[in-house]
Amino acid sequence: METSPAHGMHAAAPPLLQVDGVTLAFGGVRALSGVGFDVQRGSITAVIGPNGAGKTSLFNTISGFYRPTAGSIRFRGQDITRVPPPQRARLGLARSFQNIALFRGMTVLDNIKLGRHAHLKTHVLDALLYVGRARREEAELRRDIEERIIDFLEIDHIRHAPVAALPYGLQKRVEMARALAMQPEVLMLDEPVAGMNREETEDMARFILDVRAEWGATVLMVEHDMGMVMDLSDHVVVLNFGQVIAQGTPAVVQADPEVARAYLGSGDVGALRAKLQAAAGRAPAPAAQGAA
């Protein structure tokens, strides 16, 4: 666990995913301009940056929902810039969404099953009759999901629950399960721990590490929780105003003054507290200083 598999093959193997000079404009707004970076196989790569920097837009471009105005995206060496989104899913680009996009009319189990869609072969006629291939495929799918995903993410108690009434944290976990069902080579997670407290964040961090270890998936994530980003990732890409302003190992990025100015803020809890309490017009309490 100390070194990720990626480090060893850095030079030899070509990057799994290459983003090259990607530019994306909405009318006048330039969400991305000339973004380029590589994602090594087996790595955990984080994309960070201020709000509105274009991180989600970047994910959307990689998964094909937006078509870039310029630039290219290569996956396993193959140019997929013009490949429509469903086909990219079949190639192994799986993702979760920033604003949870579960299907509210389905149970947890069906949501997860849906992730496998692109890999199944059942046709309309099979489906209407439900014999042969349809029946076989459904049974296999069910076993696979139960044994590998539901078990792994510890969501067996809710598998038949409708997703709508689940607490936020569990919904995020179901999204992750659905992405896993897509048989990902690259698992893209958009803010996987937003809205979670420390304890839940820790759970999610553990899942992410385990996904890489057990599934051999490469992880690409957007996240604002710096603790987690810095602890987990092998490579960090920083976006600001649609441009890459820094990239490298967590330590390198953290030390970059530009990044600190645009994104990280003071980052020092003690200083922060003093600042906030000064703003609130109170003297810093002695106990608080002790805690920090």
């Binding site: 094909g64 996009a101 299907f103 069906d110 099953k113 849906l114 046709h123 489906a127 495929e137």
Partner: protein
């Protein structure tokens, strides 16, 4: 009492009807369906056939609107396509009945898919109005073509199946009800597989569905196609049932009727489509029966007739206001009341 039905295998868990009780109910329903024609009067047989036709068509609409979330007000027109196809085949070439029905389904399916083409860009109510437009265009074609007999429409001979001439409700029952049951089973199966799940995903969030591997246009068209295939077959049955097809046979109000049926029954539920179609077909008849039972005879009929319109509308409103999930939900609640449903919430 069942406290949790434990399933031995995942296959059993995914079965369509998962418990002994349900099998028993199903058996009883089948026996009732088989016995019904031997005890019912011509009127009730007529109604049963009509209900079955409406169930088939509503189920089709439920696939499109209830499950895929594409509101359509063209279901009647697609039935018309099926009915005209059957009538033309039957009257001009006398081809075999089952073939005609399939042909009716396919012609409607093609029509439905053509209408579905805008669905990638046009959404929600805008799309619903496109389907209205489509049904007016269909009506125009029916009324102005010679092959469809213009405004006069087409009359046809009774159909024949396995040597039997289907000229009474009793005989038609044995065609219409089994075909409908088959179509129902097909629809129920559909939603156990990836196709059905894809439909629901499109309904709930179409844009994220695409990123998850579902080609939107293909599946929207498929949904339109399936739905109109159901409508087309239902229309074909309708043609054999009434044996006269005119442009006025499939008005917009019929499309609204089907929409009302799936909403009253419960959108996105096969059972809902069935219950809704049964309910909506029977309501006017039951209201009539009630009026008949009141003293006062036909004079009262004249006076009370508009009341039926009011009640009809009030029922739709009442359902939506008081039971938005429809009859299927009422049924489920009743069932929960009788079984101790295992630890929901």
């Amino acid at each position: 009492m069942r406290i949790g039905t434990f399933k031995e295998t995942y296959v059993a868990d995914a079965a369509l009807f998962d418990s002994r009780t349900q099998h028993v109910w199903l058996g009883i329903a089948a026996v009732l369906l088989v016995a019904f024609p031997f005890v019912a009067s011509d009127y009730w047989l007529y109604l049963a056939c009509l209900i079955a036709i409406n169930v088939a068509s509503s189920t089709g609409l439920n696939i499109l609107t209830g499950y895929t979330g594409l509101v359509s007000l063209g279901q009647a027109a697609f039935m018309g396509l099926g009915a005209y196809t059957v009538a033309i085949l039957q009257a001009r070439w006398g081809t075999p009945l089952l073939l005609n029905l399939l042909a009716g389904g396919f012609v409607a399916m093609v029509g439905g898919m053509v209408v579905g083409i805008p669905s990638l860009r046009v959404k929600g109510l805008y799309l619903a109005i496109v389907t209205i437009a489509a049904s007016f265009i269909a009506h125009f074609l029916f009324a102005n073509f010679s092959i469809t007999g213009g405004t006069t429409g087409l009359s046809m001979q009774p159909g024949q199946l396995f040597g039997a001439v289907l000229d009474t409700s009793f005989r038609l029952y044995w065609l219409i009800v089994p075909v409908t049951v088959l179509m129902l089973l097909g629809a129920a199966n559909l939603f156990r597989t990836r196709i059905g799940r894809a439909f629901i995903a499109i309904r709930d969030r179409d844009i994220s569905a695409e990123v998850l591997g579902i080609p939107l246009l293909q599946y929207k068209l498929l949904s339109f196609g399936l739905s109109s295939f159901y409508a087309g077959v239902a229309g074909g049955l309708w043609a054999y049932f009434f044996r006269v097809v005119t442009p006025e046979s499939f008005p917009l109000s019929l499309s609204i009727f089907f929409l009302a049926a799936i909403i009253v029954g419960g959108m996105g539920s096969i059972l809902g489509g069935v219950l809704g179609a049964v309910f909506m077909t029977l309501v006017p008849e039951v209201l009539k029966l009630i009026v008949d039972l009141l003293p006062g005879g036909t004079n009262l009929t004249v006076f009370l007739s508009p009341v039926r319109l009011v009640i009809f509308g009030a029922l739709i409103i009442g359902f939506l206001v008081f039971e938005p999930l429809g009859l299927a939900e009422m049924w489920r609640r009743t069932r929960r009341f009788f079984h101790l449903w295992p630890f929901r919430n």
